[in-house]
Amino acid sequence: MRYIEGVDARAPLLPSPFEEWFAARGWAPRPHQLELISRAQAGLSTLLIAPTGAGKTLAGFLPSLIELAPLKAEGSRRPHRLHTLYISPLKALTTDVARNLNTPASEMQLGVRIESRTGDTPPSKRQRQRAQPPDILLTTPEQLSLLIASEHASVFFEDLQAIIIDEIHALAPTKRGDLLALALARLQRWAPTHRRIGLSATVADEEGLVRWLMGNASTLSLAERVAAQRPGEGRSDVQAPGRLSAPHPPTPSPQGRRGEGTDIIVRAPPGAQPVIDVLDSDAHIPWSGHTARHAIPEIYETIKRTKLALVFVNTRAQAEMTFQELWRVNDDGLPIALHHGSLDVAQRRKVEAAMADGKLRAVVCTSTLDLGIDWGDVDLVIQIGAPKGCARLVQRIGRANHRYNEPSRALLAPSNRFEVLECRSAQEAVKEGALDGESRRIGGLDCLAQHVMGCACGEPFDADELYAEIVSTLPYQNLARAQFDRSVDLVATGGYALRSYDRYRRIVQDPHTNRWRARNASVAQQHRMNVGAIVESEMLDVRLAHRAGARPRPGTPKKEGPSPLVAGRRLGQIEEYFIEGLAPGDTFLFAGEILRLIGVRETDALVVRASDQQSPKVPSYAGGKFPLSTFLADRVRLMLHEPKRQKALPPQVREWIKMQKRRSVVPAPDEMLIETFPRGGKHYLVCYPFEGRLAQQTLGVLVTRRLERLGKNPIGFLASEYAMAVWGLEPMGDIDFTQLFDEDMLGDDLESWLGESTLMKSTFSKCAVIAGMISRNAPGAERKTGRQVTFSADLIYDVLKQYEPDHILMQAAFADAGEGYLDIKRVGALLARIKGKIVHRDLPHVSPFAAPVMLEMGKVGVRGGADEAVLEDAASLIAEAMS
């Protein structure tokens, strides 16, 4: 931890044009900005942890601008050398930063070349950039992967002095982060003396972020590194003052990680403590549900007193619903807008522009507005539904009031009783400055395969060298050599055990140098068209349908019969699986309107407005997209158990907990309560792990399978964020619960279930795309739609599962499913945690805690065989017709 003392002593760090520029604006450089300059001059890498509004981005760029400023003297015809690479997770952020950076650069007349490069950059400009790189290039991880997969990549990067990675906390724990970590290791080889600057929001696992940022790159200062070099190998053709350069890539040593502590962290002082309120609604607080409908009038009143409020919700469906509900009470006609990921881009841009112009009073949004750009002067953040994790909450609160020293204001609006507890816990945690951390990621094998192919398309690689380079990154530090070799084989021939595609290799080994390269230009081109780790789930365009020639000119004779429906204006995109669940004629909420599905044509969902409808069939996303964080869950369990902490709770909620104590029991924080009771001819088992919906859903599947074996005839289960309920035809009070919840559940039960589940198919499909087994784009062909990809991937999965179930991509899919969709790690932790700590109550009827989960049961049916049942229904129609 270092706060800067003696700022004045460091002031001379700032050359005169910079000092004058700051002074002209009446600004002074902030201590952390100066600290970054001085560290950069010593060749040191830095992880800058700063709250929003702390001038983070400028802090990252100042050292580079200062180094580049003297080059102006060389005139405009000076050589093109890439000095600084800036990487951001968002394309929009890249362009925005380019704009914000060009302003001071041109005001100071620095003559620095600053350009951005994204998927939207025209090919001609991209080509020019490769031949004549700017001084500072702002780009995305995908573009970096592309550059690495281009010929002569090493030449392009050899002058690189600095890499700035923005929003690093959001990138690191993702597949895009895997690819980026691998790319950074490549750059380390080509530009061994570059420094790295990570820009991050406050996180729990700082050390993990440092190690992700640095990989094996030395955190020693430049001088120390130069001293460590063998003499006589220095190179003096670098032009910027105060810079030295090491000649050759240091041999990366997988285990020899140096200086991996937190000593490269620079912290901007935290801004003012945010003011967080939890809405204590006067209305009845619902037992279950996620809409917070009861609180809408109070939320609306709050918006009326606010300049601009961001209303965050956790899913798109909640966004639609909240937007609709707010407008229902919007008697003053306040300009309230909607912003989420499936809306048409043009529509989103419009909302953003209106925000920036101060034309809006509230925007209902999802995580699309979590990161990055400041749109307008937000003075209040409202979180509807529980925040699920503190880090996300802090990030969202930071969107309000980007002025550094004024407190951000936030209002949490819980949508049910358990969420009241969660919101209170989050409020306390933020006050204490406690944060939940995402667990570190193990790098995906599909991303590894993509990287290997990329390397082969750029500079031919030696397998030993590449392996050493890969295990120098944090996500792949434990990658076994055998797995690496299998990945190379996967790239080369598909990696099949029983039959080889040896004749059709995508990469080939040079017999003299032993280096691997792409077989020909066409496979390299194919790879470049498929770079990236973002595989969109299958989306359909939502389009307003109208009849062809719907408005005939007067006098035109009317044609007989209705003319065909034509796809019209595009409203946005929607997940295919959601539309598949609808029958034509069903209504749903989208883009703030109630729409009626007419049908699906190719990749378009054709709809008409159904404004006559009062209650649409709302997208049935069950609960929140983000699972409750372990950290927050622990705090909720603690709060439940300690009466002292319940004082601030609304009376309704306190009463509810008291009733639970009377009717059943409130478990201690380290215990798990199981209740069994009969109801309506069925028998229920409800447990309360507080581990989030994903983990509990997995638990539900596995427990149900076990109950089946025990002869309890389970017919269904349901998981909420807090509890999991199973119901069946036999009483369940006599079960040996220690055995039922034994850890061996995660063995065969899990495996046999996963084998049957459609989840594995869709996960596999994504892995196959990332690993390059299935092309998203083929050269010269039209862009394949997600529909086609999924379809063929399903069939491929079936065949592969039958013939080679341990194929490396099956392993990758299994790991992804376990991590992303099933939260297996967390189920494992739960089962370990509750060993010997299970409290069971056999009750005559439902308990107060069980009521919320019972209320959510409406839609859930029996699992398995459901698809066949649809077909059987249809067939029985025929039987009826014929009898």
Partner: protein, 253 residues
């Protein structure tokens, strides 16, 4: 075996007159029906059995589709050919056909036969030695499979039935074709299920694709309207049996 002789009563629907469901019967895991005068059985694997002629028909196997993609840089699992041949072996052992007809697009491309590996080549040779084998010409593979032996036809007559790869518009009754890879999306219980299927109006029939990686086309597509002007019934391939789905339960994609 029960076979219904009467068509179903026409339900009253205002706009689009629903077509009659052709007479058919669910027998075990299969569906039996008459095509013209000939009794045919639609099997859950997607093959068609003509009992009187002891003839087994499969269509659009697209053998070596995997290696065809590998050739172009997409390394699909190389087991599709084997999977299809094993399915055929199973059918052969069960039904003991005198004739097996592969109704066109037997290989994904004309280079397919040359790319088969030794094991699959041997398995196919074995199958071909056990019965009369007929390749019908397709658009993907042309006459390439001829090199493997067997008879070759562009159109084949089996009793009153006419077997060809491309379905004919407004064909005479008794035509069995492939090429279109029909599939059906069946709705019910607030959801929909998409599966391969046979498409038939009781007089003509289009076979589902037999191959492991073959894509498909919804029977609601216009291409089918030309062949079945009065609409078609889908015989849907369920998990382990064939289930008929009437026209009004089918939706487009």
């Amino acid at each position: 075996m029960p076979l219904l002789s009467q068509s179903a009563p026409k339900p009253q629907r205002p706009r689009r007159p629903a077509q009659a469901v052709p007479p058919m019967a669910i027998v075990g895991d299969s569906v039996e029906m008459r095509l013209g005068d000939t009794l045919v059985t639609a099997l859950p694997d997607g093959a068609l059995w003509i009992g009187d002629a002891k003839t087994l028909i499969v269509s659009d196997i697209h053998l070596e589709k995997g290696s065809s993609f590998a050739l172009r840089g997409q390394m699909l699992p190389p087991y599709d050919t084997h999977a299809a041949l094993l399915k055929l072996t199973d059918l052969m052992l069960r039904l003991q056909p005198d004739i097996i007809v592969s109704l066109g697009d037997s290989f994904h491309d004309s280079g397919g036969p040359a790319r088969m590996d030794a094991r699959d080549r041997e398995l196919l040779r074995l199958l071909m030695s056990r019965c009369d084998w007929v390749w019908v010409e397709g658009n993907h593979d042309g006459r390439a499979p001829e090199t493997l032996g067997g008879a070759y036809h562009d159109t084949l007559h089996v009793g009153a039935l006419v077997l060809k790869h491309h379905p004919t518009e407004a064909a005479a009754p008794g035509e069995i074709a492939g090429h279109l890879h029909p599939c059906a999306r069946v709705v019910g219980r607030g959801r929909s299920v998409r599966r391969r299927c046979f498409a038939t109006d009781g007089e003509r029939l289009v076979m589902p694709a037999f191959g492991a990686y073959t894509g498909d086309l919804n029977v609601c597509d216009d291409a089918f309207a030309k062949i079945f002007p009065d609409g078609a019934t889908a015989l849907v391939l369920g998990k382990d049996r064939v289930l008929p789905a009437p026209n009004e339960r089918l939706v487009g994609d």
